[in-house]
Structure formats: structure tokens, C-alpha cells
Amino acid sequence: MLSVLVFLPLAVAAVLVHPRVGDALARATFVAVSAVEVALAALAWASYETPEAGALAHEERAPWIPGVGSSYHVGVDGLSLPLVVMTTLVFLACAVFARREQHRPRLQAALFLFLEAVCLGLFVSADLILFFVFFDLSIVAMYFSISGWGHANAARSALKFFLYTFLGSLALLLGFVGLYVASDPHTFDMVELAAHPPLQGHGVAGGLVLAALLLGLAVKTPTFPFHTWLPPAHSDAPAIGSAVLAGVLLKMGTYGFVRIAMPMLPDAWRAWAWVVIAVGIVSVLWGALVAFAQTDLKRMIAYTSVNHMGYVVLAVGAAGVLGDGADDARRVAITGAVTQMVSHGLLTAALFLLAGSMFDRTGNYDLDAYGGLAGTAPRYATLFTVAAFGSLGLPAFSGFIAEFQILAGSIATVPVTAVRARDPHHGGLVPACAAAGVHRTDHRPLGGVHRRHAAGVGAGRPAAHGVGVHRSAAAHAARRDRARCRRTCRPRGAVSRRDGC
């Protein structure tokens, strides 16, 4: 079942690589396979039966490299299944979005199906080496996505992304080898390692292995101070690349915290939880404050990702401080972390796709250029508002449930975090910062006063479609002319009749 889920997109991707597959067929296949994946994930959810503690549902296991204690071992539990479903949904959205792609659509479809297989494979892995294989391949696939379909400084940003995250992945690999060597008998199996955590009572060695794991996961997440690769990668990536990067790939880091670092090194985790909490709080604040200063829409969303991932890190850190005692608060914090991962994955993917459709029509991400959009593109504005408010964490949106749980769990655990409880509405100073950031996202493009460009955006839409080259200078100039025309001689109908604009 899970193997089909993982390898179906991979097999289709292998077929799509063949040059004789037509572009239209490739686009349709991309959508169809993504939809089938959603169905398969839903099926997995429907037939899910809660396994015993420490076990996995839909488990499959086959020997892979028995000589080094590694096997093809997959399975899901309450932690990974929501992420699997979220991943399939994000990819379906991307597939639908990519139907308008003009630039090598066949290869893009193949690459993203490959990426989908890799992402799903990572979330269902129950073996450290299998996890690492998918972890690394996700980096490779995303590199090609950015460098092949990105814009502006795509090559440079892609390289930065690759180097940064590959460095992280090697630190992670070192940590895995450390776990492997310390386990007895030597194994890479996650279930066995979690059941019999190695390095218990070896303070220094456990701390070093944990440090390697944390470094690797923190780069991927990313948390402060390892987040600097994220904004350029996002701003130069194609829309669906950004959506997958923020929606799915970032979760691999936080998922690793919950799946690997915490259960496999419980002693060391408890001892160093305060560092994790500190990193989480700094990421939350830093991400929110820097997001506030951005004028580039995608960079702003990227920084809100740092902020949101900071919440997750904070929650898992708080869960570590609790230890075995206050079980309820611990569970609330972990549940909050997972809810936040899923919620952020869906919301950010939505925001990036919306930003991408704006880019397709205007050729830039400058927030100041889009005032008054709500008047000309009401449906777009509605969608954007929904996603932004969800991201803000307002009640009735998924972000609220997540952040409420995280804060409830962490304040109960670490009284220090209560310092943030100044704004009763949002639970603390930290979400207030986030609120400010998203507030700005909402207002600038949608409610501002720059009518001129907004009209251009609305009118330029069919033109951009027709030409098929969104970024061409000619199309852009034509749009601006038309916009100026509109502004000077309203009403619109009269314009087109009189001047032929």
C-alpha cells in the first residue's frame, strides 16, 4: 500500500522522461497521478488502525542491506499520516497550477512526480538510511527545480540551497552513523532505535550525536541562524517549487525532530531541550520581525515560514523539558507541533501559489505595486485573505488550533514562555508579531491606493495568457500602456472604442 503510494509517481516520472511524451499529455498525467495519490493517501487514512505504542500501521519490511542493519521498512502512525496526506494535497495543487506551465512542462512534471515520491518516501520511512536517501534526493530534486525553472538569480540561489542543505544532511548522516554504532546490535531501524534508545547515560557522546542531528535538521527546517538560504531560494524558485519547498520540504526538518532526535536520544534531548527552546523562540521572533520589513511578497512569506517553524521547534523543545512527568502538556505540545506542520504546509503552499499566479501576470513580487487588487480581482483577494488569516492563526483556521496547542503546552511547561502572554487575543507577543507581518501582507496588495497597477494586473491577465510569455518586456510594456490609458480615459468601454486600447 505505502510502497504503491511512494513508487507510483516515481514510475510515472520515469516514463515522462521519455522525449516522445507530449507536453499536453505530461500535464494531464501530472494532475491525474497527483489526484490518484491523494486518493491513495485517503485510502491509507480510511483503513488506518491505530497501532500499539511504538509500532506502525501499514507496515512493510524487506531486507535491503542486512550486512549493515538497514532494511526497506515503511509504515505510518499518527505523526506521519497527516503529513503524507498534506503532501499529496500540496502536490495536487501544484499539478493543477502547473497546467499553465509553458517552459519544458514534460520535464517539470517528471521532476515534481519524482519529488512527490521522495517526499512521501521520507514521511513513511522507518529506517534511518531510507530516510536519509529520501532526504538527500529531495535536495537534489529541489535543486533542479529551482535552477531549471526559477528566475532572476536562480542558479545562484539553487547552489546556495544545495550547499547549505547538503551540509546539513551530512551532519545528519554523521548523527545516524553515531546512533548506529552506539546501538546494540547495530541497526538503522527507527522502530528498534526508539524502543531501545542508544547512548542512554552517555552524556557527552549522546550530546554530540544529538548536536549532529540537530544541526542537520535545523538547517533543513530552517531555524535561526541557519535560515539564510531560505529567502533567496524561495524568491527565485518557480511558484510550485516554492510551494513544495515551504509546504513539504521544510517539514522534513521538524518531522526529524519529532521522529528521530526526540525518541532516539531522550536523555540528551531532555538535557539540551533548553537550547532547542531558545532556538525556537529566537526563530519565532526573528522570522516575524524580518518578515515585517520585507517588500518582496515571496521573501515575506519565506520569513513567516521561519516564524512558523520556530513554533514547531519551540513545541518539541518544551516537550523535552517535560520529561516523563506532565504527560498531558507534553502531548498537547507535540500534537500542536504536528498540527502546525500540516497547517503551515497547506497555508504556505496556498500563499506561494497565489504569489506565483500574481508573478505570472506582473513579473514581480513587489508588494507596493499591487495596491487595490481587491477591487479588480475579488476572488483572488478572498483566497489570499483566507490563506493569510489562516497563517496568522485566527480562530476557526487550522493555524489557530496549532498555535493554541503549542502555546498551551509550552507555557504549562516552561513558565518563561509566559513572558509572551501579553496579548490575550493571540496568546503572546510572538503571535502578535506574526499578526503584524501578515496584516501587512493583507493590506498592501489588496486594500491600498495604487489603482494604476491594480488595473494593469486585472487587464493584463488575458494578454499574458495569450502571449504565453509572462516575463517578456513587450507584454509588460503593453500592459502598462493599457493601464495608463484606462486611468486617463474612463469609463473602460469608452476607451476601447475610442482609442483602440
Binding site: 537534489v140 551530512l170 553515531g178
Partner: protein, 466 residues
């Protein structure tokens, strides 16, 4: 005697094949020299089959214990002969109708036989012979194509070979003098009572001599010049086949020297030096062949890390053999791509490669990411098991050094990938139009695919090696 000869059948077949191509080439018309490549391929295939048959049999020794046929020899035989077959494919475009065509095939086979002798020898005297037998064809190969740079490369290789060969002989004599025996089986016991400083000096001299063959620090100086100056065929050969022989020979030697932890540390330090120097030097290279030359120096470092712990960890030996075979395939894939595009030398000239040759670009990406150690390729499994074995042996610092150096290596491998993916129009320069031949392209695709298959099928392969 007869049974001993049968035990050396794979080596003998390569040697015989080399002789037949050499003599046969003299009696073949100038335009029909390609026939000799078929003879050479037949010899390599026969040697491969004989090697597999011998591997399936029981381990044994031949010629009074001077040559050992065991799992390591078997793995080396398969790796060397498969490498030779790939190199013959790579060579098919480059040396076709060259005045020295059949001689090149002959030297390839003789060099392969020398490397196999090196891998199997368990005797100091035979070690010296094997060293010479694998070195002398190498000097010829580097200079034979008479390119502008090749005389310098050949001379450099020869002079360094002579220097390190003398060191190896000196060390062998020293150890022989201390032990009174040349066979490895008796060496360990005899050396245990000898003065430790003298044993260390002798062992170190032999080791450094072998590092010339492996192309590792401190015997690495000739590698970048030779890969840049020689033909791609010779470059592919000299960065692959001698390494297989030399590294297995190193593990056999340190297995009998007293003081296992000390030798592991010495090898570990040499490994770190090799990977670091190779990586740092490769960062600045612009000629892809020279870049690959330095990259092989760093790869020897990783291989040496595995070789360092063959005595201290059960995983060391299989890790080394797996890594060696995986490295050989991956390295040959990269060289095959370079051979398929003989006019693209500097990184800038690779612009537009992705649009003109998408299949080869995929092979190049797989090969270069494979050299980095990206899963699921063979080098990944090799590196992973090497890190596990070194950590297991108590040399966790070596595992950390491998990981750190892998990060550094990423920079220059990615530079090449990036150059190959760049559209040509952006730079507006003429793109190399030279054709390296169908053989090189086939070799690139086959080798690149094989690295992935080998990584995925690591489980069963590991069981064979273990």
C-alpha cells in the same frame, strides 16, 4: 605448479591478451587495428569469467604462499576486469585509427594484470615485481598519444614512479632484513620481536610507495598532470585500475605489521591529508580533467579511511571492497562523459551541454553526485559503511573528516553540473563539436546506470563481500 598457474588464470589471461594484442597489432593493417580491441575485450571478459569462477571456489594460496586468492582478490579481479571493459569502450572513439592503437590496448591489459598481481600478492618480493609490472605500462600509457602536454605528464609520472618505487624497494628490503622472511604469513610473527622504529620505518616506506600507485598523499603529485596531459583513456585507467590493486595491497600489508591501532592511525592521518588536499586543490580547477584528477586524490582519501580500519572493524574490509568497486564505476562514468566530449575542456565550454546531450547530462549528474556520495548510488553505500566502520573502530574523528570533506567536494562537483546545465546562448561562445564516439557515450550511460543499480542492490553484494 599447474594448480598454481590455474590459480593465477585471470591474471595470466590478461597478460596473454596483452601479448596477443601487441604482437597481433604488428601484423594487422593500419586501418584494421580495431580488431585488436576485440581481442583485448575478449581477454578481459575471459579474465572476468575466470575470476568469478575462482571467487566461487575456496580461498587458497599459490606459489608457496606468495599469492593469495581470497574474497579480496576476487572482488579486485571483478572490479579491474569490468573497469578494463569500460575503459576499452571509452578508448574506442579516442584511439581508433591512431598509430598507437593496438599498443594502447596492450598496455591497458598489461597494466590491469599488474594491478591484479598487486592486489593478490602476499610476499614482499612479489610486491616489488607487481609494483613494477603495474607501473611501467602506466608510463607508456600516459605518453603514448603524443599530445602537447603528454611528454611532461609522462616524464613526471615516470620520475615520481621511480622515486616511490625506490622507497618501496627500500622499505621491503628493510622489512625483509628485520624478519628474515619475505612471505606475509611469517612476517607478522617475526617482526613482533624486531625493533619497533625500524619496523615502522620499513612499513611506512612500503606504504608510501604503494600510495604512489593509489594516487594518494604523499604520492599524488603526478595524478593531476597525468589526467590532464594524457589521453582520456589513459586518465580513466590510471585513476581507477591501479588504485584497486594498491589499496588491497595496503590492507594486506598493514594486516601483518605489528601495532594495529598505530597503523590504523597512520593510515587515517594519510587519508585525511589525501581527502583534504585533493578537495582543496580541486576547488580551483577549471579544466574538467584536472578537476577529476584532483577529485580522485580526495576519493583515495575516503578509500584509505576504509582501508585504515580493516583490522579493527569487521565492516572495514567489505566496506573498502564495495567502495572500491563503486568508486571505479562512478569515476569511469565521469571520465566517459569527458571522453564523449573531447573538445569541452574548461568549465565554460560545457555550457549548452544539457540541451545538446540530455542523456549524457543525466549520466554526468549521476556520476558527479555519485562521487559526492548522494544516495542511492554505490559510493553513498561505500561512504556510509566506511563511516560506520571507522566510528566502530574507535576512529570517530575519521568519520567526521569524511563528512566534512564531502561538503567541500560538493563545491567543485556542483560547479561542473552548473556549467553543464547553463544554456549556451547565455555565454555566446562556440560549443565543442568534437565527438568522442558512440563507445564513450555507451560507457557513460552504462556506468552511470550501474552505480545506481549497485547502490540499490547493495544488500546482496554486501553479503558476497562480507
Amino acid at each position: 605448479m599447474g594448480a598454481d598457474l590455474v590459480a593465477l588464470l585471470p591474471e595470466a589471461l590478461l597478460f596473454l591478451g596483452g601479448m596477443v594484442t601487441l604482437v597481433g597489432g604488428s601484423f594487422t593493417p593500419r586501418t584494421r587495428q580495431w580488431r585488436m580491441s576485440l581481442v583485448a575485450a575478449a581477454a578481459a571478459t575471459a579474465s572476468l569469467v575466470a575470476g568469478l569462477v575462482a571467487w566461487a571456489g575456496d580461498p587458497r594460496t599459490a606459489f608457496s604462499g606468495t599469492f593469495t586468492v581470497d574474497g579480496s582478490t576476487g572482488a579486485a579481479r571483478v572490479a579491474v576486469t569490468v573497469s578494463l571493459l569500460l575503459i576499452l569502450l571509452i578508448a574506442s572513439g579516442e584511439v581508433r585509427d591512431h598509430p598507437r592503437e593496438s599498443e594502447t590496448y596492450s598496455l591497458l591489459l598489461l597494466g590491469g594484470a599488474g594491478a591484479l598481481l598487486l592486489a593478490g600478492c602476499t610476499d614482499l618480493a612479489l610486491l616489488v615485481v607487481a609494483f613494477l609490472l603495474s607501473s611501467i605500462p602506466l608510463y607508456g600509457l600516459v605518453g603514448i598519444m603524443a599530445r602537447p602536454d603528454s611528454p611532461e605528464a609522462a616524464l613526471k609520472t615516470y620520475l615520481f614512479g621511480a622515486l616511490f618505487g625506490i622507497q618501496l624497494m627500500l622499505g621491503a628490503v628493510l622489512l625483509y632484513g628485520l624478519a628474515g622472511r619475505a612471505g606475509y604469513s611469517a612476517l607478522g610473527a617475526e617482526l613482533a620481536g624486531a625493533p619497533a622504529a625500524a619496523v615502522s620505518a620499513g612499513g611506512l616506506l612500503v606504504l608510501i610507495g604503494l600510495l604512489f600507485k593509489a594516487g594518494g598523499v604523499p604520492g599524488h603529485f603526478w595524478v593531476p598532470d597525468a589526467t590532464q596531459g594524457a589521453s582520456v583513456t589513459a586518465a580513466a585507467f590510471l585513476t581507477t585500475v591501479p588504485k584497486i590493486g594498491a589499496l588491497v595491497a595496503i590492507t594486506r600489508l598493514v594486516a601483518v605489521l605489528p601495532g594495529e591501532v598505530r597503523w590504523a592511525t597512520v593510515l587515517g592521518v594519510l587519508a585525511v591529508a589525501s581527502m583534504t588536499i585533493g578537495n582543496l586543490a580541486a576547488l580551483a580547477q577549471n579544466d574538467v580533467r584536472r578537476l577529476l584528477g584532483w577529485s580522485t586524490v580526495s576519493q583515495v582519501g575516503y578509500l584509505l579511511a576504509a582501508a585504515a580500519v580493516t583490522r579493527l572493524s569487521d565492516q572495514g574490509q567489505p566496506a573498502l571492497l564495495f567502495f572500491l568497486a563503486g568508486y571505479a564505476l562512478t569515476n569511469l562514468a565521469a571520465f566517459a562523459v569527458a571522453a564523449a566530449e573531447p573538445d569541452r575542456r574548461s568549465l565554460e565550454q560545457w555550457a549548452g551541454f544539457a540541451t545538446t546531450r540530455p542523456g549524457l547530462t543525466a549520466a554526468l549528474v549521476v556520476a558527479l553526485l555519485g562521487l559526492v556520495g548522494t544516495p542511492p548510488t554505490a559510493v553513498f553505500v561505500g561512504k556510509l559503511t566506511t563511516m560506520g566502520a571507522t566510528w566502530d573502530a574507535g576512529l570517530a574523528w575519521l568519520a567526521v573528516a569524511v563528512a566534512l570533506n564531502t561538503v567541500v567536494s560538493l563545491f567543485y562537483y556542483l560547479r561542473w553540473i552548473r556549467a553543464a546545465l547553463r544554456p549556451a546562448a547565455q555565454l555566446g561562445e562556440g560549443v565543442g563539436t568534437g565527438d568522442g564516439g558512440r563507445g564513450a557515450r555507451t560507457a557513460a550511460l552504462v556506468a552511470a546506470a550501474a552505480t545506481i543499480v549497485m547502490g540499490l542492490a547493495a544488500g546482496p553484494l554486501w553479503l558476497i563481500l562480507d
